[in-house]
Amino acid sequence: MREFAPDVRLLAGGTDLMVRLRSGRFRPNAVVDVKRVSGWSSQIVETEGVLRIGAGVTMTDLVADTKVQRHFPALVEAASVVGSIQIRNRATLAGNICNASPAADTAPPLLVCGAIVNIASAWDERRLPLHEFFLAPGKTALAPSELVESLDLPIPAEPVGSSFQRITRRRGVDLATVNLSCTLNAAGEVRMAFGAAAPIPLLVNGTVASLEEMTAQARPISDIRGGQDYRQAMLLVMARRALEIARGRLSR
């Protein structure tokens, strides 16, 4: 990576990278396939209140994992609608984050659960909260020499209900027009994150009484998938739906 920096692209699942290589949007000097690097992890490990998702974990692996299903149902819901089965068999959770699409489906549930990104370079490592990781569409806080090694998801210490909502033009294999995830605790505190509603996936905090103020922090644009007003209006609808489901899960 040092030899070709900063013009290197890392290849994990390849479902975003290959499209951009073919379109000519990315023209790197080198593509490094990280899947066979020693120490590269495709494991999901639970230790001391944290679920660590290795950067090689695919959407299919994630959705099938009983630990993820138990603690992070909203993440399972989001990962199970990314692309098609063929895509989910290759695409990685870490790759979805590194691609930094404003519409990334796994970003909202990861933001609301307080995910931490474990970043490594040849000579250093650091941890960054996910809400500081996204900088702009397609741009992350990663330096050219760095890669994402894993994601840490803190397992909630108190009972929490969570859910994921998404609006698409067609039911399968579509990018989200808007997506949203929330968590709710017994005190009525709500963490909410939405995608395709701002230049980056956005995390906001509030309570069950402040859904309108929370969704008003979105800055959606109009594009081929939906208008600005439509997106803004749907966010509130989705927030109410998501909260209702989260409430049901909290009381279980």
């Binding site: 290849l11 390849g14 479902t15 290959m18 499209v19 073919r22 379109s23 593509v31 396939d33 899947k35 299919t60 692309g83 098609s84 089965i85 063929q86 895509i87 068999n89 290759r90 039911r171 399968g172 294999v173």
Partner: protein, 151 residues
């Protein structure tokens, strides 16, 4: 690189920028796998890579080094069509035919993971495969037939 394609071990040099799809079609001559959108939307290039359905247009050939690849040509055994292939014929599920190799490979993976899918599960299993002729209902019938059609 070395890999196993349809049960046969193959060792070949490969262009570093070639996709698995280009390798299968142009280098190996297995043209059953189709190229259509070349960006992972249509599923026409679906093959099994180490037992999992993937879009071969989104995988570099070099990534498949050491892997086991199954293409549509690998389903027939000793002159006998795979039950899925036979069901597609019996149900008249093939119109222009271009999407069918990808459809059958996606269905193969679906039935391998879930031997008795509901209609909703079949639709979900084939959501990554587009049929330009829109012959979906007979394709779904064929997959149901091949699964034993219990649900």
């Amino acid at each position: 690189m070395k890999l196993t394609i349809n049960g046969q071990e193959i060792a070949r040099d490969v262009a570093q920028h070639h996709t698995l799809l280009e390798f299968l079609r142009d280098d190996i001559g297995l043209t059953g796998t189709k190229e259509c959108c070349a960006e992972g939307e249509c599923g026409a290039c679906t093959v099994l890579l180490d037992g999992k359905a993937i879009n071969s247009c989104l995988v570099l050939a070099a990534e498949a080094d050491g892997s086991i690849v199954t293409t549509i040509e690998g389903l027939e055994k000793d002159g006998q069509l795979d039950p899925l292939q036979q069901a597609f014929i019996d149900k008249g599920a093939v119109q222009c035919g271009f999407c069918i190799p990808g459809m059958i490979m996606a269905a193969k993976y679906l039935l391998q993971e879930n031997s008795n899918p509901t209609e909703a599960e079949i639709k979900q299993g084939l959501a990554g495969n587009l049929c330009r002729c829109a012959g979906y209902s007979r394709i779904i019938d064929a997959v149901r037939e091949a699964s034993g059609g219990r649900k």
